[in-house]
Symmetry: C2
């Protein structure tokens, strides 16, 4: 199972890398039924100016189109980062059976960071959660934020020169 999981997490990482070319925070996701990818997505929030355009939401919507059903029971969602509260809620709404992700999101994460959404016993749907750390997921984010900070620094210097 772990080899298969790493294979699909690498597909999610390919999605995350695509986000970089859109200058978006590099997060990617894929949804798998049996051994087939039925939905893919990467963060497009800034590009689309749409607050719901997270990698997981885009992948869920594509998977629902593929199956022509809102029920994604029996599927696994792979994400490079811990899903946020919105995406955890979407995972429940879509009845996704299992999720696998690489690194936590301390600011918005709904699996372990801000809430443990899937541990709520009142929920009428259960989601299996697995964490597999792949360094590439963290590297992508770290490099992205390093570039952002560097550009901001350059911009600040530039602004100071201008005024």
């Amino acid at each position: 199972m772990k080899n298969k999981d790493i294979l699909f997490l690498n597909e999610a990482l390919k999605e995350a890398a695509k986000a970089l070319s859109y200058k978006e925070v590099p997060i990617g996701a894929v949804i798998v039924k049996e051994t087939k990818i039925i939905g893919r997505g990467f963060n497009k929030k800034e590009f689309l100016q749409n607050p719901t355009s997270h990698a997981e939401i885009i992948a869920i919507e594509e998977a629902s189109q593929t199956l022509n059903s809102w029920r994604l029971t029996g599927t696994t969602l792979y994400s490079t980062v811990e899903p946020c509260i919105m995406c955890c809620g979407a995972i429940i709404q879509a009845r996704i059976s299992r999720i696998v992700y690489c690194i936590p999101d301390e600011k918005f994460g709904g699996v372990e960071s801000l809430f443990s959404i899937f541990s709520n016993e009142k929920l009428n749907h259960s989601v299996k959660v697995e964490k597999i750390y792949l360094p590439r997921a963290k590297e992508l984010l770290q490099n992205f934020f390093k570039t952002i900070r560097k550009n901001r620094y350059n911009f600040t210097n530039f602004s100071q020169e201008e005024t």
Copy 2:
């Protein structure tokens, strides 16, 4: 404030009534900036076979298109029913400032029923919450589920006759 809130909740109720004509669970939402509605939505989950097509998500996406921005700071979201976990997360992602709703959702509600998402002190965004009970919100849901049960009963009787 309350008169204005009731006015906009009634607009959300108009959206909920539209959902009925799609044979959807009747939930509606509008988003207001100052005194103008900038987004409207009603539940279309079954119609679109999309698990994310809740009234609030559709209204948020429309409001972002209207403002050409994912940031909906300073807006109020009116919903006929307590937003679910996914929609609470989307409200945070969109930086919506205030929400008003009519009735709780014991099965999926993220404001008071399953979680108190907006009370989490670790969140870097705060959302004001108000509840204004309008009987019409409950009536719409009750009538919808009564019809569903009746049809199911008729279908069961029919099936029993068939076998």
